[in-house]
């Protein structure tokens, strides 16, 4: 039996659908995803909830999983994520190549940072395997792989010195911001779109918030008061996005990343707004369950099977890009693409659970 419907799976399913839509640039429904009214977007939610899920592996404080078991399971998870990433990247490259051939359009070969794959295949294939070359919109899983590789360390620090976990994570985050430390890409020059040195804090905060003791316990005990503080922050964030009140990066003082809104470094502005957003919106879940139970069932099913759904969404969003180009977009095409895509995401999740059920039954 799949686990019962819950808020974490529901919001993760919500993030997956948002990511699928946002990864079809120009699609009509893109304007309805929450990033249009929020400084942060689904990426923060996805990584935060990935950190939250770490608690299932780490175990309860009174019944902790053995350390060697923890390392084995998390390393295995990182390997699974890596294999999934490589599979969808190869699929994406083949899709771009096939589309370029069928449509006789070499521009498609340059789409989504794929140009180097076709023009400099020797170095770029090494880069793909090392994760130093990432296709556009296929750059979250490499971050997730890195986070999962350091997850045993996170769990061990949490176990041995729980009060040190957030300060250490925060120190790494602030160092990356102050000194603008990035992870370079190769063979094309650039930087990782999701800087792991900064995004690890989102992951750690998700893990910490999931724990009954420590900061997580404090948040639970004070959630009503936190929401009172969070609501104005969410409103201010919405106003900033709506009226484009972005801090001017040429005029803010050094270190500039502390004062601007940027996704690569998940800067404090984005992070604070995101934390406020989840504090406020977590209050809505019980209401959504009552009002829209079928939607909650569906999104929770997606969330329970997040890796399969994420991989399917990545491939489908690229297919959506190609099909939009071929059919020239428009409301009807976009509706069919997004509608069919979401149904297929549901099918991927259902098949995954059906397979698990069948295996258990046999």
């Amino acid at each position: 039996m799949p686990r019962a419907v819950n808020a974490v799976d529901f919001w993760r399913g919500f993030a997956l659908v948002s990511i699928f839509i946002n990864h079809i640039p120009g699609v009509f429904y893109e304007r309805f995803t929450h990033r249009n009214l929020s400084l942060s977007d689904s990426a923060e939610l996805f990584v935060f909830l990935a950190g939250w899920s770490l608690r299932h592996v780490v175990g309860r404080p009174e019944d902790p999983a053995p350390t060697h078991n923890l390392i084995y399971r998390l390393s295995g998870r990182a390997l699974t994520l890596y294999a999934a990433h490589m599979t969808i990247v190869m699929l994406a490259i083949a899709m771009l190549a096939a589309a370029a051939r069928i449509l006789e359009n070499p521009l498609i070969l340059e789409w989504n940072n794929a140009a180097a794959v076709f023009n400099d295949p020797v170095d770029t294939h090494i880069g793909l395997v090392l994760l130093s070359h990432q296709l556009g919109y296929f750059d979250i899983l490499p971050l997730y792989v890195v986070l999962m590789l350091v997850a045993p360390l996170i769990a061990i620090i949490h176990r041995q010195a729980p009060n040190w976990l957030v300060p250490v994570s925060l120190a790494i985050y602030l160092s990356a911001l102050v000194f603008q430390i990035t992870i370079p890409t190769w063979p094309t020059e650039g930087q990782w779109f999701f800087n792991p040195l900064c995004w690890q804090l989102v992951f750690v905060l998700g893990f910490t918030a999931s724990r009954e003791r420590g900061p997580g316990g404090w948040v639970r005990a004070n959630i009503s008061r936190i929401r009172l503080v969070a609501l104005p922050i969410v409103i201010l964030g919405t106003l900033m996005v709506w009226f484009r009140w972005w801090p001017d990066a040429t005029r803010v003082p050094e270190p500039k990343l502390l004062f601007i809104a940027g996704k690569t470094f998940v800067t404090p502005l984005r992070l604070i707004q995101f934390l406020a957003l989840i504090a406020v919106f977590s209050a809505l879940y019980p209401l959504i369950v009552k009002a829209l139970p079928r939607l909650v069932d569906f999104l929770s099913m997606l969330g329970r099977n997040s890796l399969q759904v994420f991989c399917t969404a990545s491939v489908l969003s690229l297919a959506g890009q190609i099909l939009r180009f071929y059919f020239r977009g428009g409301f009807v095409v976009d509706t069919i693409l997004v509608g069919t895509g979401i149904i297929l995401l549901g099918l991927a999740a259902w098949l995954s659970e059906w397979r698990d059920r069948t295996q258990k039954a046999s």
Binding site: P106, L107, A115, G262, R328
Partner: protein, 263 residues
């Protein structure tokens, strides 16, 4: 070799045609090195439509130019270009201006629409303390069927913002491919880039016209060339021309009147 020469000649011709009134190299400026053999064509000179006043100030005051390379395929590699497209620009400028330090920061996000890039450009320009933004744009918007009006507004706003913040900008436009030659939306995006460059008095580097002429020459001469060969030659020569355009732009004067019509 003959093919490379043909390609180079075609690009050079197009660039000459595109160039608005020939910039007379000022006496104080350096003697610009000729284009490499592969891109050489008699009588051809790459000239900036517009000056790059902020780059000129950086050169004078700091002997250092910070260039932010941004947009769809800004960092894509091409075989013959060692170190990538913008390495050519960096090497050329440092050779042309003795003691000049050119820093090119690559922040290309392939597949990104102009509207999405707009805020990122402002952030990255601030972080890099950019004097010049090389913005490769249009392809993703054209393929994603972004309405031309939306594209026009997004790009114009960003260019205006950059100018207001004393940052020069060069727009690197769309590529030519046979399959898109009759595509109305693609052509409309191309026209929009041209109009923005003209309206805002910023330099535009267009690969489209170069590759289009190449295609014509290929047909005329019956020289078989693949799309990949045309693209390679275009990237190599455009990098060379871009470097010279920046160098020339450093010594150009502000236009007193609107620029003449683009041909």
């Amino acid at each position: 070799m003959r093919r490379v020469g043909t390609i180079a000649a075609a690009i050079a011709i197009v660039v000459t045609v595109l160039a608005s009134p020939a910039l007379t190299q000022q006496q104080s400026g350096p003697v610009l090195a000729p284009v490499p053999k592969a891109c050489e064509a008699p009588g051809a000179q790459v000239i900036a439509d517009s000056p790059l006043p902020n780059v000129a100030i950086a050169l004078k005051d700091r002997k250092k130019i910070n260039i932010l390379a941004i947009g769809a395929t800004s960092a894509s590699l091409r075989g013959p270009v060692s170190g990538g497209y913008f390495a050519v620009v960096e090497r050329y400028l440092e050779a042309a201006f003795k003691g000049l330090d050119v820093q090119v920061v690559h922040r290309g996000v392939s597949g990104e629409l102009a509207a999405d890039a707009a805020e990122r450009i402002k952030t990255e320009a601030g972080l890099a303390n950019a004097d010049l933004v090389l913005w490769q744009l249009g392809t993703s918007d054209a393929l994603a069927q972004v309405p031309v009006a939306d594209f026009f507004v997004a790009v114009t706003d960003t260019v205006t913002w950059l100018k207001d913040h004393k940052i020069d900008v060069i727009l690197v436009g769309l590529r030519y491919t046979r399959s898109m030659a009759q595509d109305l939306h693609y052509q409309a995006i191309r026209t929009a880039i041209k109009e923005i460059a003209k309206k805002e008095h910023v330099l535009r580097i267009s690969r489209y016209e170069a590759e289009e002429v190449l295609e014509g020459l290929r047909r005329e001469q019956g020289v078989p060339m693949s799309e990949a060969e045309i693209t390679d030659a275009s990237y190599v020569c455009m990098a060379e021309y871009l470097a010279r355009a920046i160098a020339a732009g450093l010594f150009a004067k502000e236009p007193k009147s609107p620029l003449p019509k683009d041909k």
